[in-house]
C-alpha cells in the first residue's frame, strides 16, 4: 500500500485510495510530519512535577530520541505530547496549535502490552482504522498489509498472548502506523526485548518509517539505540532537559568508528551517570 499520501483517512476510503495513487504518481514524497513544540513547559502530575522549564522543538519528519535514567520524566514528556497529560505550565503545541487532548494524528507506542488481549493481531490493527470510520473491507485490507510489512502476515489471526513479545511489539507498531499518524510517540517500545530482537526491531522501525514522513519522538534508556535511531538526541536529567545534540550519521550501523559519534556517545553516557 502507499503511505506517501497526505490525505486524511477521514475523507473516506475511496477518496483516500485515489488520492494515494495520485500522490505516488505525481509528487515526490510529501511531508506528512508535524512540528511538536514545548515552550517553558512544566510537566508531570499536579502532585508531582517531573520536568520543569522544557524548551523543545521537534521538526516535521525528524526522529528525536530522548534518553535519561529511569524515572527522569521521559514517559511524562511523551504522555504530555500525546495529550494524555496536560502541561502544568507553559505551552505544548502541534504545528502552533495547543494540544488539548489525545488525537489520532499523534500515535503512541507503549513499552508494555497495550494490545487488547481479546482481539487478534489483525483486529488490534483494525481498531484505529475503525475509529477513523473506514469500511470493514478496507480496514481489513489495510491491516493485513501493515501486518505483512512488519512480518506478521501469517500471525494475523493469533491472539496477542499466543505470540512472542517481539511480535507483539511489531503488531503495536503496525497498529500505530496504520492510521497514518503525523507523529509517532514511542515509549521504550523495545525496552522489554532481548538485545538481538531489539536490533532487528530497530532495523524494522527504520524500514517501516521510511516514506511515512512522520515525526518520531522515541524514548529509550539505551544510549546506542538513541544514537542509532535519532537525527537528534535529547538528554533528560534531574528534572530538566539538559541538552539536545545532532547525531552524526543517524541510522548507520557503521558510524561507530566516527570520532564525532564516539564523542557524542561518551557525552551522553557521562550525562546519564551524573
Amino acid at each position: 500500500m502507499s503511505t506517501s499520501s497526505d490525505t486524511r483517512a477521514s475523507t473516506g476510503p475511496a477518496t483516500a485510495a485515489t488520492a494515494a495513487t495520485a500522490a505516488t504518481g505525481n509528487e515526490p514524497v510529501p511531508v506528512r510530519g508535524t512540528r511538536l513544540t514545548l515552550r517553558s513547559a512544566t510537566l508531570g502530575r499536579p502532585d508531582s512535577t517531573a520536568l520543569t522549564d522544557v524548551d523543545l522543538d521537534v521538526a516535521p519528519g525528524e526522529i528525536l530520541t530522548v534518553v535519561g535514567s529511569s524515572g527522569c520524566g521521559k514517559s511524562t514528556l511523551l504522555r504530555t505530547l500525546a495529550g494524555l497529560l496536560p502541561a502544568l505550565a507553559g505551552a505544548v503545541e502541534q504545528d502552533g496549535q495547543r494540544i488539548e487532548g489525545p488525537a489520532a494524528t499523534r500515535a503512541l507506542v507503549f513499552q508494555e502490552d497495550a494490545l487488547l488481549p481479546w482481539r487478534t493481531l489483525r483486529a488490534n490493527v483494525e481498531l484505529p482504522l475503525a475509529i477513523q470510520g473506514l469500511a470493514r473491507a478496507e480496514r481489513r485490507r489495510q491491516a493485513e498489509s501493515w501486518l505483512e510489512r512488519v512480518g506478521l502476515a501469517d500471525r494475523s489471526g493469533q491472539l496477542p498472548h499466543r505470540v512472542s513479545g517481539g511480535q507483539r511489539q511489531r503488531a503495536q507498531l503496525a497498529r500505530a502506523l496504520a492510521p497514518r499518524p503525523r507523529a509517532v510517540l514511542m515509549d521504550e517500545p523495545f525496552g522489554a526485548l532481548d538485545a538481538q530482537t531489539r536490533a532487528g526491531m530497530q532495523d524494522l522501525l527504520v524500514e517501516v518509517l521510511h516514506g511515512t514522513g512522520a515525526t518520531v519522538v522515541f524514548v529509550t534508556h539505551d544510549v546506542d539505540e538513541a544514537l542509532f535511531l535519532g537525527d537528534r538526541v535529547a538528554l533528560l536529567g534531574s528534572g530538566r532537559l539538559t541538552a539536545v545534540r545532532e547525531v552524526p550519521r543517524p541510522r548507520d550501523r557503521t558510524a561507530h568508528d566516527d570520532p564525532a559519534w564516539v564523542a557524542l556517545r561518551r557525552e551522553v553516557l557521562t550525562s546519564l551517570s551524573t
Partner: protein, 295 residues
C-alpha cells in the same frame, strides 16, 4: 501425559453422584437410626416413583416453567442493571457519590427480607417474586463488575484514547470486553443466589412454582414430594449455572488458559526422569532460540 481422559472424568463424576444415591438408598431402606434418623426419610425408590408420577402430570411442568420464567426474568434484569450500575460507579465519580452510599446500605439486606417491601410495592405476587430474584442477583453482578472495571489495565484505555476513540468507543472496545471475565464471576454467583431467592419467595407467596409445590407437599406431609421438589431445584440450578459458565467461557476464550500446566508439571515428578535434572534448562533453550528467530 498421565492425566485422565475426558471419558474417565465423566465416569468419575457419575460415580460420585451414584455413590451418594446408593448411600441414601441404603441408609433409608435399612431404617438406620444412629443419632441421625433415617427411618422417616423417603428412600431413593420412593422419590423416584413420586418423580415419575409428577412427570406425568401437568402441574409439574407448570411449576417448572413458572419458576424458570421468574428466575430468567429476574436474573436478566439483574444482569443488565448490575453491569450498567457497576460500570457507572467504577467510571464516574458522580455516579459513585450518588449511588455508592445507597447501594452499600441496601446491599447487606438479604433479598428474601425484601418480601414485605415486594408485597407493598407490587400489585401482584408474580412481580414481587421477580423483584426479589432480581435484587438477589443484582449485588453480586454489580460488585464484581465494579471491581473488574477498576482493575482494567490503564494502558488499554490510553491506547484507544490516543487513537482518537471517545467515551463510547472506550466503553465498547475496552471496558466491557476487559471486564467480562470478572462480570461472569458475578453472574455465576448471581444465578446461584437467584435460585435461593426465587424458591424462598415462592414458598412464602407463590402461586405455582417449584418452591410453592415443595412447601405444599411439606404441609400435607408428602415427603417424597418434597424431595422431588429438591431434586428439581438441584437439577435446574445446575443447568442454569452451567449455561452461565459455558457462555462465560465462550465469551472469554481470549484469556490465556493454563490448562496445559498440570501436564508439564507432572513430568519432572516421574521417577525415571529425575536423574537428568541438570541439563533440563538447556533442553528448553532450542525452543526459546527458535522463538527469537521468529521475532
Amino acid at each position: 501425559m498421565s492425566g485422565r481422559t475426558g471419558a474417565a472424568r465423566y465416569a468419575l463424576r457419575a460415580a460420585s453422584l451414584t455413590t451418594a444415591l446408593v448411600a441414601w438408598q441404603l441408609l433409608t431402606s435399612l431404617d438406620v437410626d444412629l443419632w441421625l434418623r433415617f427411618s422417616q426419610f423417603p428412600t431413593v425408590a420412593d422419590v423416584a416413583r413420586a418423580f415419575g408420577e409428577r412427570l406425568g402430570g401437568d402441574d409439574y411442568w407448570t411449576d417448572l416453567t413458572d419458576s424458570l420464567t421468574r428466575i430468567l426474568t429476574g436474573f436478566l434484569l439483574a444482569a443488565v442493571m448490575g453491569i450498567a450500575t457497576g460500570v457507572a460507579v467504577a467510571r464516574s465519580r458522580l455516579a459513585e457519590d450518588l449511588l455508592g452510599p445507597l447501594l452499600e446500605v441496601v446491599r447487606p439486606i438479604p433479598a428474601i427480607a425484601l418480601v414485605p417491601v415486594a408485597i407493598l410495592l407490587f400489585p401482584s405476587n408474580e412481580q414481587g417474586i421477580v423483584f426479589i430474584t432480581c435484587a438477589a442477583a443484582f449485588f453480586p453482578v454489580m460488585v464484581s463488575t465494579r471491581h473488574a472495571v477498576r482493575a482494567l489495565t490503564p494502558v488499554w484505555e490510553e491506547a484507544v484514547r490516543t487513537m482518537g476513540g471517545g467515551r463510547g468507543r472506550i466503553l465498547a472496545t475496552v471496558v466491557l470486553p476487559g471486564a467480562l471475565p470478572g462480570i461472569f464471576g458475578g453472574l455465576s454467583v448471581g444465578i446461584g443466589v437467584s435460585w435461593i431467592c426465587v424458591i424462598s419467595a415462592e414458598m412464602i407467596s407463590g402461586q405455582y412454582g417449584v418452591g410453592y409445590r415443595t412447601w405444599q407437599d411439606y404441609t400435607v406431609v408428602d415427603y417424597p414430594g418434597v424431595f422431588v421438589g429438591m431434586v428439581t431445584i438441584g437439577i435446574l440450578g445446575w443447568l442454569t449455572s452451567t449455561a452461565v459458565e459455558l457462555l462465560g467461557r465462550r465469551l472469554t476464550r481470549w484469556l490465556p488458559r493454563t490448562s496445559y500446566v498440570p501436564g508439564t508439571r507432572a513430568r519432572p515428578r516421574t521417577p525415571g526422569r529425575a536423574a537428568p535434572a541438570g541439563p533440563a534448562p538447556t533442553a528448553v533453550r532450542p525452543e526459546e532460540a527458535r522463538d527469537e528467530h521468529l521475532v
